[in-house]
Symmetry: C2
Subunit: 425 residues, 2 copies
Amino acid sequence: MIRAGILVTGTEVLTGRIQDGNGPWVSERLAEEGVEVAHILVVADRPGDLEAGLRFMAAEGMDLIVTTGGLGPTADDLTAEIVARFAERRMVLDEEMEAKIAEILSGFAQRFRLDPDALRTANRKQAMVPEGAIALDPVGTAPGLVVPAGERVVVVLPGPPRELQPMWAAALETEPVRELLARATPLRGYTMRMFGVPESEIAKSLREMEAGGLELDAVEITTCLRRGEIEIDVRYRDEAETVAEGVRAGLVQRHREETFSLDGETIDAQVATLLLGRKLALAESCSGGLLAARITDLEGASEYFAGGVVSYSNEAKSEMLGVGPELIEANGAVSAEVAEAMAIGALERFDADVAVSITGIAGPGGGSEEKPVGYVCFNARLADGTAIARDPIIPGGRLDIRERSALVGMHLLRMLLGEEIGTKS
Amino acid sequence: MIRAGILVTGTEVLTGRIQDGNGPWVSERLAEEGVEVAHILVVADRPGDLEAGLRFMAAEGMDLIVTTGGLGPTADDLTAEIVARFAERRMVLDEEMEAKIAEILSGFAQRFRLDPDALRTANRKQAMVPEGAIALDPVGTAPGLVVPAGERVVVVLPGPPRELQPMWAAALETEPVRELLARATPLRGYTMRMFGVPESEIAKSLREMEAGGLELDAVEITTCLRRGEIEIDVRYRDEAETVAEGVRAGLVQRHREETFSLDGETIDAQVATLLLGRKLALAESCSGGLLAARITDLEGASEYFAGGVVSYSNEAKSEMLGVGPELIEANGAVSAEVAEAMAIGALERFDADVAVSITGIAGPGGGSEEKPVGYVCFNARLADGTAIARDPIIPGGRLDIRERSALVGMHLLRMLLGEEIGTKS
């Protein structure tokens, strides 16, 4: 088993001012290669802490250490130097790299009229590499490094994700990393997604399947609740394929209604496919535009998304969607009746084929005994009157209720367009 | 100087399937207490890695170690046991805690009809605590722990943020933690926010101020680009107050136009205050509802938010906002003219006092030489015709352009309502 540690450097990350995405990203890439990640360690730009982190990972027997950040031109960017000391190599000037960086910087210098002396100093600092290391071409201005260090390899990557991610591919191509990964066995795997089932039910199903003779120990199953959906990730080595397929079949059999993805495809991608050739309109109240934002997150949404109304006030519901004020008066703005009228209004006003409406109480105020905070009415509807209506009470705080409302809207679209299980109203 | 390490446990976090918010959250709380955080270490639920993490932090001389996660009822929840071994204390049953957990669980058991035997086992496991440790009352079902371990203290907290965060306050009240924190000197500090200035300009201003005699070494300044705004965080000990105030004054003087917050207040909070007593309407195209979602994120938004139209198609712009088809034909849907007509339409249709419109090219397709991807037209407008128009080219990918568009919309609202610097059109 090849094991790896990831060392994330950066005071902003350690203090919580910036959320680190590099550690998890590198971790996922390593898992794909069959490497077991033992640690993600975040330290500030303090030489002592950085060095201690490297020594810790070496002492724990890591075969591979990946560092992120600290490759910039300023004095507190120390990673290359500290890694050199750790690998017992001195820093030398890589003249070829110096020329490459100079060329990149000359473009900046002209555009932004930077001080040429300051630039030359920065340039030289970034071209210093540990002797015998492999320098990876800069994506921004900082080269990455692959540094052999005794029995292990240290891969040194820059902090900005848009530099780090392309450079990862280059690191994989180097001889020391290739040799190391040749000894790893990549895991195979799949991801299933479910909606509307508690995590504990999945645990129960797995226990039942195990009791029925399925050797779950042969595969690695991670179940997690992710943004309101259950994600079940199954990883396995070739010889456990039968067990892995048994898990998938057993779970589908027990949770057919709730399973919407067998291969990791997201609800967003599914809905986008189902909407092709149609015209969607939205009428949102408590979700306040979150469903529209989610739909338009995907490129190409203009193919099928006509538009939406965020009808936050009662007047907006009447003026913009034609919901009768007397209907609101009689049933309340949060009611199945108003949700239906909003969906019908959206279909008509946008001349659409399919519409979803959402009206609910996101809180923290506005709840009552009959209609508590979290009570949300949905109506997903085709122009021919086929519709699905729902009115769950969604748990959690304001943000949870709003986000979950948009998610329920997505799943109602899937049910309406994918399976035609709606009831004619 | 009191130093601390944070040990985050959980396979889902280490594999990148769930993003850890606990490490950064605890780190921020510790900084407020004047504790220097040296590491955030993420490990899987493997006993060896967990123990190695504790030993590493002890070897590095941490006075305080905070662990998160691994306190649940199942077999892979090992933190309490590993911490006990690390602190050289045996596990004993806390009968008072057992009774408390039993009471919490009996509610669940009735509601969900759980197996009482399985429950009793889980209950007993969670009531086992290291001898001599202080148990913190459960927020969910798992108690937290404060465990003295030689010269240091280990605080053991549950993984779910809604359990961890309230329990933190209880941990601070315990004698061992109080004694430790009494030796720390809390830093004072402030946060400034700017919009529309590059980070490098702030660095330049700071260099100039230092050259002018301000002793920047006496304070800790972190500058970072966070969701399109510059956040400048200044931390200092009492004796450096004059320098810290000098930094604030110097930055404001040099970047008066771009500075919108001297005390950390967010643009969202500022806009919410400015909107009180008014009625806002939105007309969004490329931002697809993100500005409406941002406005309605804050509770109480229904006081001032009438509603919005996500007019993704040209037909929607005409039908829902009264933008003349010939205007779109003549200028294109992404044009200052159409943005203006959208804002006027939103004011009228929602009978509002203030409106913001956004129309742009979010990409990846749809760009041209004249109007490239990222070209976005804005119009922020009062009912009396006072308006601010902008048409920047926003860099980045589709998601960046969409999010930044919503952010620009927020800042235009601030400029329009806060300073009345608009031009009469």
